[in-house]
């Protein structure tokens, strides 16, 4: 592994290989010259808008579109009835009114029978301008017959609860997965139950149980979702500009949904203004824009507004968890059991590998060494927006990390033991790796205690505890919270991981031009991760070509090989590995060409960054640029060696990578008002090799801000009538710079043993790890009031109520 600071500099001052360099893409972003979907304007393009349901649960008795159709400038008004009338030559149903979700459920494109959540798509207007389209929405008259909405997952399983998915003939509100299962279990139920029974009977052991809610939140990317669709009737080619984190997977889904030939579909994701998982699913709006272009023969743009984004697109979390831990009184953890009631909303639109219906939640056993763990997840339908998993969560590892890290703190409080000490007693030890977790995950590498000690060192942990004791004596409430998390990212091995049957291996293609400059074509899709920079650096590291000489192409299915896209921190673990592998193929081929040119055997050649040379005669060699020209020239090539310097690869990861970290948060709480001030936040991440440390830090900064948001303010709550109470940025609060302290970052580097460059994904580490640190700190601050737990978001009101001893359901309307 090349140490980051060792990379030589290119003529442009960039590291040839790994090291911090400014992001190539920022040149256009900071100048306002990015090109987002809403910047795409095609000749003759029409605009569109979606009429959405004001009710969470209601039968549609009639829809009258005549007045809207009569408005000048309106080209078409489409309802569920219209879609039922469009035959679809596909296996997934015979008309367009319903579409498949990424979890083998069906979702209404436009409601036909009922509306099932507030904000659901009911009618679609295509018009000459966005304004006219919106004006027309007001002229559509829909008669609703309101039904009782199911707004609480706990109500969903009541025998008398209204049935939400009567369209599927269901008789209760349980989600059924593709395998016909309605409950998802993991770990060893029997040995875990036995461990708890032993602990209950043993006076030297304790069992701590805690109900923990991870409330519904929303990824809320700056750019909302949208698309521009154009079906060229002459060529039969459908071009879709769209806000997609997974352009190739979307193309295949459209081929299935629309019954269009896949070779005629081109999906282009231009610059994407943030995704966080929100842009993984296929939304009715995208499909409607396709229908719009089919119906009108013109390009059609659909772009949702902020409220539509918050109310109808992929939410995250909504996990109601009951967790218990058994431990000895000395603080050795023996077993953990978690029961989850999972709110999936009205359609099961969760985006995750098929065999993992609860995502990777079952990695909840965390970073600790104990033999017995078990979880059971019961998914239910409610009258809330569909989606799930999204929001930088590594397929629900956020929920997993949160529950175990909160539980460990509850245990520490019960044992009256310092939470750092308790963690140090239980962390996995370096010699245990690769480590097989009790729920079946093989952690690849880690030196957990070392990382934790670095964090404690930066924090000045002992000094902080002393300060806390002094302050408490004065009646001031300061808290220190720790979170130690392990993620499994980089889905994934195709043997076990697919989405809608599409295996999660990534293709890649690298061409080196005659002048030694290259073009790398990726299947993954940046939404702010800086792929154009990092991937060029990977090639640069492998071939010694300056990063500025590598053009990274992504986001266009016609120009890039197939792959499943960017989410779950998979780009570096999967496509990053692919980039390294494809560059090594080029390097190997370059060796053969160099040998031909130098008239020696390839075995006589040795590689140094950017150059093959003859062993023992360093002067005799060929640079990669010289080899590139030779490969395209007239040099006589050996048997079996084709000309040119191109290669492709498909990378099938042997395992996930397991980044981890230790976060420490310091807060001050004003018990008179319940206000929380985050004073310090220390984040020590181990994501293996750091390709571009500056980008890694940027990813961590953003994720920490996300974590602060979720811990303190972000929430999609509903009232009992079914109203979404987080439908604007006045209601759905995102943190600002003011709420964020100066992040204090540290690192340890434990490379992944199975990744070609030892890198692990880092895109979600901070979002996964930080909420627990913040909450643990707040609870630590107010523990003198007898508080052991309070649910997020810890708004001033919720903190005050916790201090009063009144824990409340934070996900419902405040009463």
């Amino acid at each position: 592994m090349t140490a980051v600071d060792d990379a030589p500099l290119s003529a442009a001052g960039n590291p040839i290989g790994f090291g911090s360099m400014k992001r190539v893409e920022d040149q256009r972003f900071v100048r306002g010259q990015g090109n987002y979907v809403d910047d795409v304007n095609l000749p003759g393009m029409l605009h569109s808008a979606i009429l959405r349901s004001p009710y969470a649960h209601a039968r549609i008795t009639s829809i009258d579109t005549s007045a809207a159709e009569a408005l000048p400038g309106v080209r078409a008004v489409i309802t569920g009835k219209t879609l039922e009338g469009i035959a679809r030559p596909s296996l997934l149903g015979d008309n367009f009114a319903w579409m498949p979700t990424l979890s083998y459920d069906t979702q209404a494109v436009l409601a036909t029978d009922k509306v099932r959540f507030q904000g659901q798509e009911v009618a679609y207007v295509i018009a000459d301008s966005r304004y006219i389209a919106k004006d027309a929405l007001e002229l559509i008259v829909v008669d609703y017959d309101p039904l009782e909405p199911v707004m609480d997952a706990k109500r969903a399983l009541d025998p008398d609860a209204p049935i939400i998915r009567d369209d599927k003939g269901f008789t209760d509100n349980r989600v059924v997965d593709v395998h016909g299962q309605t409950s998802w279990e993991s770990g060893n139920a029997e040995s875990t139950a036995a461990a708890f029974a032993r602990a209950e009977a043993d006076p030297d052991c304790v069992v701590v149980t805690q109900e923990i809610l991870y409330p519904r939140v929303h990824p809320a990317p700056m750019e909302t979702c949208g698309s521009v669709a154009y079906l060229d009737k002459v060529t039969g080619q459908l071009t879709l500009y769209t806000t997609s984190q997974a352009p190739h997977a979307h193309r295949t889904v459209y081929a299935m949904v629309a019954g269009l030939p896949e070779q005629k579909i081109r999906v282009i994701s231009p610059d994407i203004g943030g995704g966080f998982g929100n842009k993984v699913p296929v939304y009715p709006g995208y499909v409607l824009s396709i229908i719009g272009t089919i119906v009108t023969g013109k390009p059609v743009k659909w772009m949702e507004d902020r409220s539509e984004n918050l109310m109808s697109t992929g939410f995250a979390r909504d996990y109601h968890m009951t967790a218990k831990v058994a431990a000895t009184k000395e603080g050795k953890i023996l077993a953990v059991d978690v029961d989850v009631l999972a709110d999936h909303g009205a359609f099961n639109g969760v985006a995750q590998p098929t065999n993992f219906p609860a995502g990777f939640f079952n990695i909840f056993s965390g970073s600790y060494d104990y033999p017995d763990a078990h979880c059971k997840v019961d998914p239910v339908y409610t009258n809330k927006a569909p989606g799930g998993v999204a929001y930088a969560c590594s397929f629900r590892i956020t929920e997993a990390a949160y529950v175990i890290e909160r539980l460990v703190d509850c245990l520490a409080q019960e044992l009256q033991m310092d939470p750092a000490e308790l963690r140090l007693k239980n962390l996995l030890r370096p010699e245990q790796f690769p480590y097989m977790s009790p729920t079946g995950w093989e952690y690849d590498s880690g030196e957990y205690e070392k990382t934790m000690r670095v964090a404690m060192e930066i924090a000045g942990y002992d000094e902080l505890r002393r300060e806390q004791a002094e302050k408490r004596a004065r009646g001031e409430y300061m808290g220190i919270g720790i979170s130690f998390f392990t993620e499994g990212v980089g889905a994934g091995p195709r043997r076990t991981m697919d989405i809608l049957g599409l295996g999660m291996a990534d293709g890649i293609e690298l061409r080196i031009h005659p002048t030694g400059k290259g073009v790398l074509r990726l299947s993954v899709q940046s939404q702010g991760q800086g792929h154009e920079t990092t991937f060029a650096q990977i090639v640069s590291h492998e071939l010694g070509i300056p990063p500025e000489d590598i053009e990274v192409v992504h986001g266009d299915t016609d120009q890039t090989p197939f792959g499943l896209g960017t989410y779950g921190s998979r780009s570096t673990p999967v496509s990053g590995a692919a980039a390294s592998v494809v560059a090594r193929k080029i390097r190997d081929k370059a060796r053969l060409i160099a040998a031909a040119a130098l008239e020696c055997s390839p075995d006589d050649l040795e590689w140094e960054l950017g150059r093959w040379y003859v062993k023992g005669d360093k002067e005799r060699g060929k640079t990669i640029q010289e080899i590139a020209l030779l490969s395209h020239g007239s040099l006589e090539l050996p048997e079996g060696v084709e000309g040119h310097l191109d290669a492709t690869a498909v990378y099938n990861p042997p395992n996930l990578t397991y980044p981890y970290g230790c976060y420490i948060c310091v807060v001050d709480v004003d018990p008179g008002t319940g206000q929380v001030k985050i004073r310090r936040f220390i984040a020590v991440d181990d994501c293996g090799t750091r390709i571009n440390p500056m980008i890694v830090e940027g990813q961590v900064h953003g994720g920490l801000a996300d974590g602060v948001g979720m811990a303190l303010m972000e929430l999609i709550a509903f009232d009992t009538d079914g109203n979404n109470l987080g439908g604007s940025f006045m209601d759905y609060l995102l943190p600002t710079a003011i709420e964020c302290p100066d992040w204090e970052l540290g690192e340890t580097v434990t490379p992944s043993p199975h990744h070609p460059i030892g890198a692990k994904g880092v895109g979600e580490s901070a979002t996964v790890g930080s909420p627990a640190a913040v909450v643990n700190a707040v609870i630590d601050a107010i523990s003198p009031f007898g508080v052991r737990h309070a649910d997020m978001p810890l708004t001033p009101a919720n903190v005050w109520r916790a201090i009063q001893g009144r824990n409340v359901r934070t996900d419902m309307a405040v009463e």
Binding site: M303, T736, P796, A797, A813
Partner: protein, 289 residues
């Protein structure tokens, strides 16, 4: 992108011109000041005026000055100008303290004194400041000008004494030598509307409170003020016990409702806690000054 319903726009050339435009269009017209309350409502189509009469160009409505014994703030003076005003800070810390926590710099650069008063949102911070300081507003119509006390200005949520065809032109606050003042706000996040805010001025003379004013917002205090608490304090020394009792009385007069910012009992608690904190600092400032 959120899109308002169709609307016309005209820029007023003078106060008189604005008034005549209002009269001409009647109920269909709406004055546009900073637009930071009106435009969001229009984009959500909760408000749909047919014509906007923009006051932006009227420099005569803008500015801060001393006029006799009064501080005068023109209706079109922005939050940012109030925040930065040395004249206001010299007399009352409450302006700066309140403005620091109203919205964010973008909103403060546009939002105005007049717009805040006339929006009459039950959570408006400047209403609490105005009520605490017992200010007055000047309202102008084709029939001339009239003056209304801020404590008598609000008719209810989003309703004021400004009638169709009238404009609020300025807000006046009596200068009180020796007064200390302070503002306290709890918000869920910077830039958010208050969960509760409380502001106060106190004049301590010869060891007793000779004059004071308490303003509260977002907690259902009638006319944003707490007269019983004020009456209680007058003539008493500003001891912790007396201030606490006044704060208790202030909270008593509030009638908050529960919403996503917090439950009613919490808001009532805040009314007491924040009034006490504001009174403490105002009394200390008066004595220190």
């Amino acid at each position: 992108m959120q899109t308002p319903a169709p609307v016309d726009y005209v820029r007023a050339t003078s106060v008189e011109n604005a008034i005549s435009l209002l009269e001409q269009h009647g109920e269909d017209a709406r004055l546009l000041a900073g637009g930071h309350s009106l435009l969001p409502m229009m984009k959500l189509r909760l408000a749909r005026p047919e014509i906007l009469v923009d006051l932006q160009g009227l420099s005569e409505l803008r500015g801060i000055k001393v006029d006799g014994g009064d501080l005068v703030i023109g209706a079109m003076t922005t939050h940012a100008e109030i925040l930065d005003s040395p004249i206001l800070s010299e007399h009352y810390a409450i302006f700066r303290e309140a403005e620091k926590v109203i919205a964010d710099p973008v909103v403060r650069n546009k939002g105005t004194m007049g717009g805040s008063m006339c929006q009459a949102d039950p959570s408006e911070d400047l209403s609490a400041v105005g009520a605490a300081l017992k200010g007055t507003v000047v309202i102008q119509g084709s029939g001339g000008k009239r003056t209304v006390e801020i404590r008598n200005f609000h008719e209810g949520p989003y309703e004021t004494k400004v009638k169709d065809g009238e404009i609020l032109t300025e807000v006046r606050f009596p200068i009180r030598p020796g007064a200390g003042s302070a503002y306290e706000k709890v918000e869920r996040r910077v830039g958010d509307w208050p969960v509760c805010s409380a502001g106060a001025y106190v004049v301590v003379s010869g060891g007793t409170v000779t004059d004071c004013g308490i303003g509260l917002t977002a907690v259902g205090a009638s006319h944003f003020c707490a007269p019983d608490a004020e009456a209680y304090l007058i003539g008493k020394p500003p001891t912790e016990a007396n201030l606490a009792e006044a704060a208790r009385l202030a909270a008593e007069s509030c009638d908050p409702t529960s919403d996503q910012r917090g439950p009613a009992d919490y808001k009532k608690h805040l009314a007491q806690e924040l009034t006490l904190r504001a009174l403490r600092r105002a009394a200390a400032a008066s004595q220190g000054a």
